[in-house]
């Protein structure tokens, strides 16, 4: 909690927004004592700004500065009151609906959705017409007109939190429902409550000003809305007295802007993807003697002293450290490693598909004689997929959900010069059949396929341009073992037929050993051991490789024994610092 507030304060947008808001809050609190009585008639009407009246006078001869300053008080008070009330009502209804579920949820969500589609201002006007005037009416009317959106947001949040394991864990512990809502769910909604409150206040200020401008507020009081109401009433336009309505409008906009900034800051803190990545200083790769040597003949891919750095808030962090390996044509090369070892980064690095925060800081990637690190944008685009293609870990999310498979095949083929749609579709059918799927699926959308089918589509897509190398990044991790085996068998069969090489990336070392010719083991970005599968199975030399191998229980070996001694200490090691790439768990 404190930590997140501290982070908020460090945020630039939050700092700017917060200072503007603070300024107006202070103004609202102490301002009325600093200026003259806003309803006092101090000068001739419609006087332009002068030293006596810095902002001029109104159509009645009141001081515009005083009106603007004093107006902040009720406007902000009502704004925050409505913001708070709407947040509470919305949270209460939303959390109740989301947590209790079933009938209660049906009834409450229907009500919420109905209120959501009923336009708010007309509802507020109609409601307001029947209630006695005053700030309380404003609060009531705006709350009724505005709670629904919030309830919807909180219901969604409660639904997602309700299904989180820690709620089930609390239930299993024997906690009561009330305590689960109060101590388990609500504290997790703190940031949502905060951003909702800010958003609702923004809504409240805007709607309040609008209603008051229409004369539906208490025109006897001094607020920003009534200031504008009087400006329009006293013919500010006609007399060209811009100074009457401009200061109030700018104040409203500044408060609104500050709230927008704050809510956007909270968004960025809770959703790191929205935050601009730290600037990466361009790095010129240093070419050492080892890198400069030409690629050996008969080698498809040579990775030479590759280093990849991530820009983090604490400075660059090396994720791939001086990695070199070769892949021969038609070879299956396995890369093994735990999460954060940099194995996927290498895979993406081969295609120069690194996220904006990452840079190849050193080394070369030679593919069939071309230096991939030196390709310009057009050459790179031509190189991708036609030379090296990729199968992603999750074909679920990698395929474009809104295009049919045929279209996605067509895009791929067309981008590399094969343009006709008919030809593309024919090729797509052929490829789908090749991976054991019905050719009719060209007209299907990704969501109509099961996970295994999608992964096959991923492979078919990867083979569309008959590349020489296919990078497979944990292509079977999300699949059941039976499906995994089917898929791998199909893949190897195709490899035999088409002769492409495979870079297979996974954390599952036994699997790698079963399918690869050679395997490289990564630890903390360094390649600690590269050897053939046979030799590694027979006896790995590096302790980390041995550790990995021993971590996997075997079905046949009689190893149901105590853990190896060096493992007992691992539990006390500090939590590894996760890199920006993985961003923790999912």
């Amino acid at each position: 909690m404190l930590d997140s507030i501290r982070r908020l304060l460090r945020h630039r947008k939050a700092a700017v927004g917060g200072s503007i808001l603070l300024f107006f809050l202070v103004l609202a609190l102490v301002g009325p004592w600093l200026v003259m009585d806003p309803s006092d008639l101090v000068g001739r009407p419609h006087q332009p700004p002068s030293s006596a009246h810095l902002f001029g006078t109104t159509g009645q001869g009141q001081d515009v500065l005083a009106q603007t300053v004093v107006g902040a008080r009720e406007t902000l008070a009502v704004g925050f009151a409505v913001g708070l009330l709407v947040t509470l009502v919305g949270a209460l209804i939303g959390v109740t609906a989301g947590y209790l579920g079933r009938r209660v949820d049906d009834a409450l969500s229907l009500t919420t959705n109905v209120f959501l589609v009923i336009p708010g201002l007309p509802l507020a006007i109609v409601l307001g017409a029947y209630l006695p005037s005053g700030p309380l009416r404003m609060v009531a009317v705006l709350t009724v007109a505005g709670w629904a959106w919030n309830a919807r947001v909180f219901r969604a949040e409660a639904l997602s939190l309700r299904n989180r394991d820690f709620v089930a864990a609390a239930l299993v512990t024997g906690e009561s429902r009330a305590r689960i809502i109060a101590r388990e769910l609500l504290p997790n909604m703190a940031s949502l409550l905060g951003s909702s409150f800010i958003g609702n206040t923004l809504y409240a200020v805007g709607a309040q000003v609008g209603l008051e401008f229409l004369g539906l507020g208490d025109v006897g009081s001094v607020t920003w809305g009534t200031n504008l109401y009087w400006a329009s009433n006293d013919a500010a336009l006609l007399t060209r007295s811009w100074w009457i309505f401009v200061p109030t409008g700018v104040c409203i906009a500044l408060v609104g802007f500050s709230l927008t900034l704050l809510s956007s800051a909270i968004d960025e803190l809770t959703n790191p993807a929205l935050k601009a990545p730290p600037a990466v200083a361009p790095i010129t790769p240093v070419v050492t003697a080892a890198q400069a040597e030409p690629q050996a003949p008969g080698v498809l891919l040579s990775v030479r002293e590759l280093c990849i750095d991530y820009a983090t808030e604490r400075g660059p962090s090396r994720v791939v450290d001086n990695v070199s390996f070769d892949i021969a044509p038609g070879e299956v090369f396995g890369l093994a490693g735990e999460s954060g070892s940099g194995k996927s980064t290498i895979g993406f690095g081969l295609l120069r598909l690194l996220p904006p925060a990452a840079r190849i800081s050193q080394g070369r990637i030679l593919f069939n004689g071309t230096d991939v690190t030196a390709l310009d944008a057009n050459a790179l685009r031509a190189f991708r997929w036609s030379q090296v293609s990729m199968v992603f870990q999750s074909a679920m999310s990698a395929l474009n959900p809104v295009l049919t498979l045929g279209e996605q095949f067509h895009d791929t083929l067309a981008a590399h010069g094969r343009a006709s749609r008919t030809a593309s579709y024919a090729r797509a059918r052929e490829l789908l059949a090749m991976v054991g799927l019905s050719p009719e699926l060209v007209n299907a959308w990704p969501h109509q396929l099961s996970g295994g089918m999608r992964q096959r589509v991923g492979i078919a897509l990867a083979l569309a341009l008959e590349p020489k190398l296919v990078v497979m990044d944990e292509p079977t991790t999300a699949l059941d073992v039976v499906v995994q085996k089917e898929l791998l068998q199909r893949m190897l069969e195709l490899k035999e037929r088409l002769g492409f090489a495979v870079l297979f990336i996974t954390h599952d070392l036994p699997l790698l050993l079963a399918i690869s010719h050679r395997v490289g083991v990564l630890q903390g970005g360094k390649l600690v051991e590269v050897d053939t599968s046979e030799r590694l199975r027979a006896g790995a030399r590096h302790p980390y490789t041995r550790l990995l191998l021993s971590s996997f229980p075997h079905l046949s070996a009689d190893d149901a024994a105590e853990p190896p001694p060096e493992l007992a200490l691992a539990a006390n090691a500090p939590a590894p610092v996760r890199t920006a790439l993985r961003g923790g768990h999912q």
Partner: protein, 555 residues
């Protein structure tokens, strides 16, 4: 490529904007000469309704100002009645029968002759549909009879001289048209047939409508204006913009700082005339509640008010403080100088404090006045939230009352809530209007007559302050049956003196009747030097006089 759909509206927008900006329509087109642009009603869109009988309805302004006419027209400036559809009227000896002689040669706009049958039928409609009888003519009428084609006799159920104005101002509708109307209360009369100068609806759209000349108008050669055109202005601001820009020739708007924003723009042509012919604005104390049942308190409140300042602030100085008779300028001839001189409407804080002390409402140690039972005197002044001039006035009044040691608060209500409280007498202090008629009779009846007092909780049409004076009522009752102008004046002077003495309500100021005109295209508007009618187009039916007098300026 579906996001490309986003481009479609953008491209359309660009093309359309280019077309619109290059098209010739950006140059102003010349106006039809002879068309008078009038701004009276403020509406966002026009709804076609020309029903002259139902006053509560939102009939378009020309209905009673140009399409339908009445028998005689009252002129406040002279206090005289001008013959219109009737050329003369006579009372019978017993003052129980009133006869109008109708003008010969008048024809309806469809060419049919106007006869006494039409007049009689109009009043029969009022009898049959009480909702149409807003003036309550059938409370004193017994029978209406056409006597031949050009005379109508009204038989009264009792002697009631003030009833004349109700009858004379009633718009007359053609029998041959209205006979076929199923329900005259809900009839919108889209194609009006009238005797007035402008009866033809040339154009009717939501933003504009135009009324053309009556081809059969009875005043030969008139009207000289060929058509009336009405633009929809939903707000005062917009209407005033059009006025200032010279788009409108005749208007009845409240224009803030009118001399600066409007007249000075074109002093040669722009003119305004705000005669004080509107209803008088009062501060009504609820006289059923202490301390307002004490005349000293009412007078003290009145003397605490700085009306000069009030008029300056709330009314931009367009009016003057009310005198002790509370009469507006259309009753100048009736005003009794002695009554008008009552000191209790003059700003005198010292006297006000003295009166309060006398009334037993002494100041406490904190300077606040207390009721005899020791309760601090706390008052709420009620106004309509949306009526900005009254809110301003209320703010000024509350300040003045506070100086008197009264804890006064301004409280705003929605109109209906405010009006319900006012009508039922559930208020302490309220700002409200007065009821007016051609003579001060109606005005004072609703201020003073015990016959108009309703118990608290029951709806009253006026006399919200619930005050009755038997002595004044006797004078008013005699006035009802008095036909001699001298005697009438004498009786009314007595009423005024009673009013000034009793101070049942606290007059603030008479309302101006707003009227602005531009003589760039038309001449003949009334003004202070030539007050043949009120300039304000709101003043129906004397706008008939204006519309028949105006003439396009020669090019």
């Amino acid at each position: 490529m579906k996001p490309a759909l986003l481009l479609v509206p953008v491209l359309v927008l660009v093309v359309v904007l280019l077309v619109a900006c290059t098209s010739s329509s950006s140059e102003p087109r010349p106006r039809q000469p002879g068309t008078l642009f009038v701004s009276v009603e403020q509406q966002s869109a026009w709804v076609r309704n020309f029903n002259p009988l139902f006053t509560g309805a939102g009939a378009r302004w020309p209905t009673r100002a140009g399409v339908y006419e009445c028998m005689e027209v009252f002129l406040p400036s002279s206090g005289e009645w001008t013959p219109w559809l009737a050329t003369a009227h006579t009372w019978s000896e017993d003052h129980r029968t009133l006869r109008f002689t109708l003008r010969e040669g008048v024809r309806w706009s469809d060419g049919r002759p106007f006869t006494a049958e039409d007049v009689a039928y109009t009043f029969e409609l009022l009898e049959k549909h009480p909702a149409l009888d807003s003036g309550g003519a059938w409370r004193f009428l017994e029978e209406v009879r056409a006597e031949g084609t050009h005379a109508v006799a009204f038989r009264f159920s009792r002697v009631y001289i003030p009833g004349f104005s109700e009858l004379a101002h009633q718009p007359i509708v053609p029998r041959h048209v209205w006979e076929k109307v199923a329900d005259p209360v809900t009839f919108t009369n889209p194609e009006p047939v009238g005797t007035g100068p402008f009866t033809q609806v040339n154009v009717f759209r939501n933003q504009v409508y135009e009324m053309g000349r009556n081809p059969h108008y009875w005043q030969p050669g008139k009207p000289a204006v060929s058509a009336l055109r009405f633009l929809a202005f939903p707000t005062n601001d917009q209407a005033n913009l059009a006025l200032v820009e010279g788009e409108v020739d005749w208007a009845g708007n409240f224009v803030p700082a009118v001399d600066r924003t409007f007249v000075s723009k074109d002093p040669e042509h722009h003119s305004r005339w705000f005669p004080l012919y509107g209803s008088t604005v009062f501060l009504y104390p609820n006289t059923t509640r202490p301390p307002f049942n004490d005349v000293r308190v009412r007078k003290a409140l009145s003397m605490a008010l700085d009306r000069e300042r009030l008029v300056d602030i709330a009314m931009y100085g367009y009016t003057r403080p009310a005198d002790a008779t509370a009469l507006n300028d259309s009753y100048t001839g009736w005003r009794d100088a002695e009554a008008a001189n009552g000191a209790w409407v003059r700003h005198d804080e010292e006297a006000a404090n003295r009166l309060m002390d006398e009334a037993g409402l002494a100041r406490g140690p904190d300077g606040l006045r207390r009721m005899p039972d020791g309760q601090p005197l706390e008052l709420e002044l009620e106004v309509v939230g949306g009526w900005s001039d009254w809110v301003r006035a209320g703010q000024v009044l509350v300040r003045d009352l506070r100086k008197l040691g009264i804890q006064a608060h301004l409280k705003t209500y929605e109109f209906s809530a405010w009006y319900a409280r006012l009508q039922k007498g559930e208020f302490q202090l309220a700002i409200a209007w007065s009821l007016d008629g051609p003579t001060p009779y109606t005005f004072y009846k609703w201020l003073l007559s015990p016959r108009t007092v309703r118990p608290v909780g029951e709806v009253a049409a006026a006399n919200w302050h619930r005050f009755g004076d038997v002595e004044a009522d006797a004078l008013l009752t005699r006035f009802e049956t008095e036909s001699s102008p001298e005697k009438q004046k004498e009786l009314m002077a007595g009423v005024q003196r009673r009013f000034s003495e009793l101070a049942p309500a606290i007059p603030l100021f008479p309302n101006p009747s707003w009227g602005e005109a531009s003589t760039r295209r038309f001449t003949g508007f009334p003004d202070a030097r030539n007050p043949y009618a009120r300039l304000s187009p709101h003043a129906e039916p004397d706008s008939l006089l204006v519309l028949t007098r105006l003439a396009p300026r020669e090019p």
